[in-house]
Subunit: 139 residues, 2 copies
Amino acid sequence: MVEKWLEQLRKNGYRLTEARQAVIQVIVKSNYALTPFQVYEAARAQYPALGLVSVYRTLEKLEELKLIRRVHQDCGCNAYLPQAEGHQHLIICQKCGLACYFEGDDLEDLFTKVGADHGYEVTGHWLQLFGTCAECEQK
Amino acid sequence: MVEKWLEQLRKNGYRLTEARQAVIQVIVKSNYALTPFQVYEAARAQYPALGLVSVYRTLEKLEELKLIRRVHQDCGCNAYLPQAEGHQHLIICQKCGLACYFEGDDLEDLFTKVGADHGYEVTGHWLQLFGTCAECEQK
DNA sequence: GATATAATTGAAAATGATTTTCAATAGAAG
DNA sequence: CTTCTATTGAAAATCATTTTCAATTATATC
Protein backbone atom coordinates (compact mmCIF):
# COMPACT_ATOMS: atom_id res chain seq x y z
CA MET A 1 0.00 0.00 0.00
CA VAL A 2 2.84 2.34 0.86
CA GLU A 3 4.41 1.27 -2.43
CA LYS A 4 1.30 2.24 -4.35
CA TRP A 5 1.30 5.71 -2.84
CA LEU A 6 5.00 6.21 -3.50
CA GLU A 7 4.44 5.08 -7.08
CA GLN A 8 1.64 7.65 -7.44
CA LEU A 9 3.92 10.39 -6.22
CA ARG A 10 6.72 9.37 -8.57
CA LYS A 11 4.33 9.07 -11.50
CA ASN A 12 3.30 12.65 -10.92
CA GLY A 13 6.81 13.99 -10.88
CA TYR A 14 7.25 14.25 -7.13
CA ARG A 15 10.44 13.11 -5.45
CA LEU A 16 10.46 10.32 -2.89
CA THR A 17 11.95 12.00 0.13
CA GLU A 18 12.38 10.73 3.65
CA ALA A 19 9.91 13.31 4.91
CA ARG A 20 7.22 12.12 2.53
CA GLN A 21 7.82 8.48 3.26
CA ALA A 22 7.56 9.08 6.99
CA VAL A 23 4.25 10.92 6.55
CA ILE A 24 2.84 8.24 4.26
CA GLN A 25 3.86 5.45 6.59
CA VAL A 26 1.80 7.03 9.36
CA ILE A 27 -1.37 7.80 7.48
CA VAL A 28 -1.59 5.00 4.92
CA LYS A 29 -2.84 2.42 7.35
CA SER A 30 -4.68 4.58 9.86
CA ASN A 31 -8.25 3.83 10.89
CA TYR A 32 -8.37 7.15 12.70
CA ALA A 33 -8.55 10.58 11.17
CA LEU A 34 -5.28 12.34 11.96
CA THR A 35 -4.54 16.04 12.16
CA PRO A 36 -1.36 17.45 10.62
CA PHE A 37 0.13 17.75 14.08
CA GLN A 38 -0.75 14.17 15.00
CA VAL A 39 0.87 12.98 11.79
CA TYR A 40 3.89 15.11 12.61
CA GLU A 41 4.27 13.63 16.06
CA ALA A 42 3.86 10.05 14.87
CA ALA A 43 6.12 10.41 11.85
CA ARG A 44 8.94 11.93 13.88
CA ALA A 45 9.35 8.58 15.62
CA GLN A 46 10.64 7.30 12.31
CA TYR A 47 12.26 10.48 10.98
CA PRO A 48 13.07 12.95 13.78
CA ALA A 49 14.30 15.71 11.47
CA LEU A 50 10.82 16.05 10.00
CA GLY A 51 9.30 19.53 10.06
CA LEU A 52 5.63 20.25 10.55
CA VAL A 53 5.64 22.32 7.39
CA SER A 54 6.57 19.27 5.35
CA VAL A 55 3.66 17.39 6.83
CA TYR A 56 1.31 20.12 5.61
CA ARG A 57 2.91 20.08 2.18
CA THR A 58 2.81 16.31 1.89
CA LEU A 59 -0.82 16.09 3.00
CA GLU A 60 -1.66 18.69 0.38
CA LYS A 61 -0.13 16.54 -2.35
CA LEU A 62 -1.69 13.32 -1.11
CA GLU A 63 -5.08 15.01 -1.09
CA GLU A 64 -4.49 16.33 -4.60
CA LEU A 65 -3.70 12.77 -5.74
CA LYS A 66 -6.86 11.60 -3.95
CA LEU A 67 -4.93 9.21 -1.74
CA ILE A 68 -6.28 10.84 1.40
CA ARG A 69 -9.34 12.89 2.24
CA ARG A 70 -10.17 15.54 4.77
CA VAL A 71 -12.65 14.54 7.46
CA HIS A 72 -15.10 17.07 8.84
CA GLN A 73 -16.37 16.78 12.40
CA ASP A 74 -17.91 19.03 15.01
CA CYS A 75 -14.63 19.07 16.82
CA GLY A 76 -12.68 20.19 13.77
CA CYS A 77 -12.22 19.82 10.03
CA ASN A 78 -8.49 19.37 9.76
CA ALA A 79 -8.05 15.61 10.06
CA TYR A 80 -7.23 13.18 7.27
CA LEU A 81 -7.97 9.55 6.43
CA PRO A 82 -6.83 7.36 3.55
CA GLN A 83 -9.34 7.69 0.72
CA ALA A 84 -11.50 4.62 0.07
CA GLU A 85 -11.74 2.85 -3.27
CA GLY A 86 -14.79 3.81 -5.29
CA HIS A 87 -17.64 5.76 -3.80
CA GLN A 88 -17.79 5.17 -0.09
CA HIS A 89 -19.05 6.95 2.98
CA LEU A 90 -17.78 7.15 6.53
CA ILE A 91 -18.96 6.02 9.93
CA ILE A 92 -16.99 7.44 12.82
CA CYS A 93 -17.12 6.37 16.44
CA GLN A 94 -17.73 9.39 18.64
CA LYS A 95 -15.90 7.82 21.54
CA CYS A 96 -12.68 6.44 20.13
CA GLY A 97 -12.67 7.90 16.62
CA LEU A 98 -12.52 4.55 14.83
CA ALA A 99 -13.45 5.17 11.20
CA CYS A 100 -14.95 2.74 8.75
CA TYR A 101 -16.18 3.05 5.16
CA PHE A 102 -19.40 1.69 3.69
CA GLU A 103 -20.80 1.45 0.17
CA GLY A 104 -23.45 3.94 -0.79
CA ASP A 105 -24.09 3.35 -4.47
CA ASP A 106 -27.81 2.92 -4.01
CA LEU A 107 -28.10 6.38 -2.46
CA GLU A 108 -27.02 8.31 -5.55
CA ASP A 109 -30.33 8.00 -7.37
CA LEU A 110 -32.25 9.00 -4.29
CA PHE A 111 -30.17 12.14 -3.86
CA THR A 112 -30.53 13.08 -7.51
CA LYS A 113 -34.27 12.81 -7.18
CA VAL A 114 -34.50 14.78 -3.95
CA GLY A 115 -32.43 17.54 -5.54
CA ALA A 116 -34.57 17.63 -8.65
CA ASP A 117 -37.68 17.99 -6.49
CA HIS A 118 -36.21 21.22 -5.19
CA GLY A 119 -34.98 22.50 -8.54
CA TYR A 120 -31.35 21.50 -8.11
CA GLU A 121 -29.16 19.51 -10.46
CA VAL A 122 -27.24 17.41 -7.93
CA THR A 123 -23.53 17.08 -8.66
CA GLY A 124 -22.21 15.71 -5.40
CA HIS A 125 -22.94 14.91 -1.77
CA TRP A 126 -21.46 14.45 1.63
CA LEU A 127 -22.71 11.72 3.89
CA GLN A 128 -21.16 10.80 7.17
CA LEU A 129 -22.57 8.72 10.02
CA PHE A 130 -21.67 9.12 13.65
CA GLY A 131 -22.10 6.53 16.34
CA THR A 132 -20.48 4.14 18.75
CA CYS A 133 -18.31 1.29 17.55
CA ALA A 134 -18.79 -2.28 18.78
CA GLU A 135 -15.89 -2.10 21.19
CA CYS A 136 -16.88 1.21 22.79
CA GLU A 137 -20.47 0.00 22.99
CA GLN A 138 -19.48 -2.78 25.40
CA LYS A 139 -17.92 -0.46 27.95
CA MET B 1 -39.13 35.23 13.07
CA VAL B 2 -36.78 37.83 14.52
CA GLU B 3 -39.18 38.06 17.45
CA LYS B 4 -38.97 34.33 18.06
CA TRP B 5 -35.19 34.46 18.19
CA LEU B 6 -35.16 37.46 20.51
CA GLU B 7 -37.63 35.66 22.75
CA GLN B 8 -35.35 32.63 22.84
CA LEU B 9 -32.45 34.79 23.90
CA ARG B 10 -34.46 36.52 26.61
CA LYS B 11 -35.87 33.23 27.86
CA ASN B 12 -32.32 31.99 28.35
CA GLY B 13 -31.25 35.00 30.34
CA TYR B 14 -29.45 36.89 27.60
CA ARG B 15 -29.92 40.61 27.10
CA LEU B 16 -31.41 42.03 23.95
CA THR B 17 -28.69 44.37 22.80
CA GLU B 18 -28.41 46.39 19.62
CA ALA B 19 -25.43 44.31 18.54
CA ARG B 20 -27.38 41.08 18.86
CA GLN B 21 -30.41 42.44 17.10
CA ALA B 22 -28.31 43.62 14.19
CA VAL B 23 -26.69 40.21 13.84
CA ILE B 24 -30.00 38.38 14.07
CA GLN B 25 -31.62 40.65 11.52
CA VAL B 26 -28.96 39.70 8.99
CA ILE B 27 -28.88 35.96 9.46
CA VAL B 28 -32.47 35.10 10.37
CA LYS B 29 -33.77 35.33 6.83
CA SER B 30 -30.68 34.40 4.84
CA ASN B 31 -30.77 31.70 2.16
CA TYR B 32 -27.00 31.86 1.95
CA ALA B 33 -24.50 30.58 4.47
CA LEU B 34 -22.73 33.61 5.93
CA THR B 35 -19.30 33.83 7.53
CA PRO B 36 -18.83 35.87 10.69
CA PHE B 37 -17.18 38.59 8.62
CA GLN B 38 -20.01 38.67 6.11
CA VAL B 39 -22.49 38.99 8.95
CA TYR B 40 -20.33 41.75 10.42
CA GLU B 41 -20.28 43.72 7.18
CA ALA B 42 -24.00 43.37 6.57
CA ALA B 43 -25.03 44.12 10.13
CA ARG B 44 -22.95 47.28 10.29
CA ALA B 45 -25.29 48.83 7.76
CA GLN B 46 -27.87 48.82 10.51
CA TYR B 47 -25.60 49.29 13.52
CA PRO B 48 -22.24 50.83 12.53
CA ALA B 49 -20.73 50.60 16.02
CA LEU B 50 -20.87 46.80 15.85
CA GLY B 51 -17.63 44.96 16.54
CA LEU B 52 -16.59 41.74 14.83
CA VAL B 53 -16.03 40.18 18.23
CA SER B 54 -19.69 40.62 19.09
CA VAL B 55 -20.65 38.86 15.89
CA TYR B 56 -18.59 35.85 16.96
CA ARG B 57 -20.10 35.92 20.42
CA THR B 58 -23.65 36.23 19.14
CA LEU B 59 -23.23 33.44 16.60
CA GLU B 60 -21.91 31.25 19.38
CA LYS B 61 -25.07 31.82 21.42
CA LEU B 62 -27.41 31.38 18.48
CA GLU B 63 -25.74 28.09 17.69
CA GLU B 64 -26.00 27.01 21.30
CA LEU B 65 -29.75 27.75 21.17
CA LYS B 66 -29.93 25.80 17.91
CA LEU B 67 -31.28 28.78 16.00
CA ILE B 68 -28.44 28.62 13.50
CA ARG B 69 -26.10 25.90 12.31
CA ARG B 70 -22.59 25.80 10.94
CA VAL B 71 -22.29 24.80 7.29
CA HIS B 72 -19.30 22.76 6.12
CA GLN B 73 -18.02 23.10 2.57
CA ASP B 74 -14.82 22.44 0.68
CA CYS B 75 -14.18 26.14 0.62
CA GLY B 76 -14.52 26.51 4.37
CA CYS B 77 -16.44 25.50 7.47
CA ASN B 78 -17.12 28.83 9.10
CA ALA B 79 -20.43 29.86 7.56
CA TYR B 80 -23.83 29.80 9.24
CA LEU B 81 -27.44 29.33 8.20
CA PRO B 82 -30.69 29.50 10.14
CA GLN B 83 -31.46 26.04 11.50
CA ALA B 84 -34.43 24.29 9.89
CA GLU B 85 -37.42 22.98 11.79
CA GLY B 86 -37.30 19.27 12.49
CA HIS B 87 -34.78 17.01 10.86
CA GLN B 88 -33.74 18.47 7.54
CA HIS B 89 -30.79 18.30 5.21
CA LEU B 90 -29.17 20.85 2.95
CA ILE B 91 -28.73 21.32 -0.75
CA ILE B 92 -26.31 24.07 -1.70
CA CYS B 93 -25.77 25.57 -5.14
CA GLN B 94 -22.09 25.47 -6.01
CA LYS B 95 -22.36 28.53 -8.19
CA CYS B 96 -24.37 31.07 -6.21
CA GLY B 97 -24.50 29.45 -2.79
CA LEU B 98 -28.30 29.33 -2.57
CA ALA B 99 -29.19 26.93 0.22
CA CYS B 100 -32.37 24.94 0.62
CA TYR B 101 -33.53 22.34 3.13
CA PHE B 102 -35.26 19.05 2.41
CA GLU B 103 -36.90 16.41 4.57
CA GLY B 104 -34.93 13.26 5.20
CA ASP B 105 -36.99 11.27 7.68
CA ASP B 106 -36.99 8.16 5.54
CA LEU B 107 -33.21 8.02 5.54
CA GLU B 108 -32.81 7.49 9.27
CA ASP B 109 -33.71 3.81 9.24
CA LEU B 110 -31.40 3.16 6.33
CA PHE B 111 -28.48 4.78 8.14
CA THR B 112 -29.18 2.86 11.33
CA LYS B 113 -29.11 -0.38 9.39
CA VAL B 114 -25.93 0.44 7.47
CA GLY B 115 -24.21 1.30 10.73
CA ALA B 116 -25.36 -1.88 12.41
CA ASP B 117 -23.98 -3.90 9.50
CA HIS B 118 -20.57 -2.50 10.38
CA GLY B 119 -20.90 -2.89 14.13
CA TYR B 120 -21.80 0.70 14.89
CA GLU B 121 -24.71 2.04 16.92
CA VAL B 122 -25.60 5.08 14.80
CA THR B 123 -26.39 8.19 16.81
CA GLY B 124 -26.30 10.88 14.16
CA HIS B 125 -25.45 11.77 10.61
CA TRP B 126 -24.48 14.55 8.28
CA LEU B 127 -25.95 14.70 4.82
CA GLN B 128 -25.47 17.55 2.44
CA LEU B 129 -26.09 17.71 -1.29
CA PHE B 130 -24.24 19.93 -3.73
CA GLY B 131 -25.44 20.99 -7.13
CA THR B 132 -26.67 23.78 -9.33
CA CYS B 133 -29.86 25.67 -8.55
CA ALA B 134 -32.57 26.22 -11.17
CA GLU B 135 -31.53 29.80 -11.83
CA CYS B 136 -27.82 29.08 -12.24
CA GLU B 137 -28.68 26.10 -14.41
CA GLN B 138 -30.23 28.35 -17.04
CA LYS B 139 -27.13 30.47 -17.53
C1' DG C 1 30.49 6.88 -8.79
C1' DA C 2 30.74 12.07 -9.48
C1' DT C 3 28.26 16.18 -10.86
C1' DA C 4 24.67 19.43 -12.03
C1' DT C 5 20.19 21.19 -11.20
C1' DA C 6 15.93 21.88 -9.61
C1' DA C 7 12.63 20.15 -6.19
C1' DT C 8 12.31 19.85 -1.44
C1' DT C 9 13.50 20.79 3.11
C1' DG C 10 13.18 22.94 8.07
C1' DA C 11 13.20 27.27 10.56
C1' DA C 12 11.48 31.59 11.08
C1' DA C 13 8.39 35.05 9.82
C1' DA C 14 3.92 36.25 8.09
C1' DT C 15 -0.86 35.59 7.77
C1' DG C 16 -5.74 35.00 8.89
C1' DA C 17 -9.32 33.48 11.69
C1' DT C 18 -10.76 33.19 16.21
C1' DT C 19 -10.42 33.92 21.32
C1' DT C 20 -9.16 36.32 25.42
C1' DT C 21 -8.48 40.37 28.23
C1' DC C 22 -10.10 44.52 30.08
C1' DA C 23 -11.96 48.92 31.08
C1' DA C 24 -16.06 51.32 29.48
C1' DT C 25 -20.98 50.99 28.35
C1' DA C 26 -25.73 49.97 28.50
C1' DG C 27 -29.69 46.55 29.42
C1' DA C 28 -32.77 45.13 33.06
C1' DA C 29 -34.69 45.23 37.57
C1' DG C 30 -35.84 47.70 41.47
C1' DC D 1 -33.16 57.46 38.50
C1' DT D 2 -29.94 54.22 40.36
C1' DT D 3 -27.73 49.98 40.91
C1' DC D 4 -25.82 45.86 39.22
C1' DT D 5 -23.94 42.91 36.09
C1' DA D 6 -23.93 41.25 31.28
C1' DT D 7 -22.21 42.90 27.25
C1' DT D 8 -19.51 45.72 24.45
C1' DG D 9 -15.49 47.18 21.15
C1' DA D 10 -10.51 47.58 20.82
C1' DA D 11 -6.26 45.63 21.40
C1' DA D 12 -3.53 41.83 22.43
C1' DA D 13 -2.99 36.97 22.43
C1' DT D 14 -3.52 32.54 20.41
C1' DC D 15 -3.63 28.89 17.13
C1' DA D 16 -3.51 26.69 12.70
C1' DT D 17 -1.75 27.31 8.37
C1' DT D 18 1.07 29.52 4.65
C1' DT D 19 4.95 31.93 2.83
C1' DT D 20 9.75 33.07 2.47
C1' DC D 21 14.39 31.74 2.02
C1' DA D 22 18.86 29.80 2.20
C1' DA D 23 20.56 25.11 2.74
C1' DT D 24 19.94 20.33 1.48
C1' DT D 25 19.05 16.27 -1.23
C1' DA D 26 16.78 13.30 -4.83
C1' DT D 27 17.23 12.43 -9.50
C1' DA D 28 19.00 12.62 -14.17
C1' DT D 29 23.19 12.92 -16.77
C1' DC D 30 27.65 12.34 -17.42
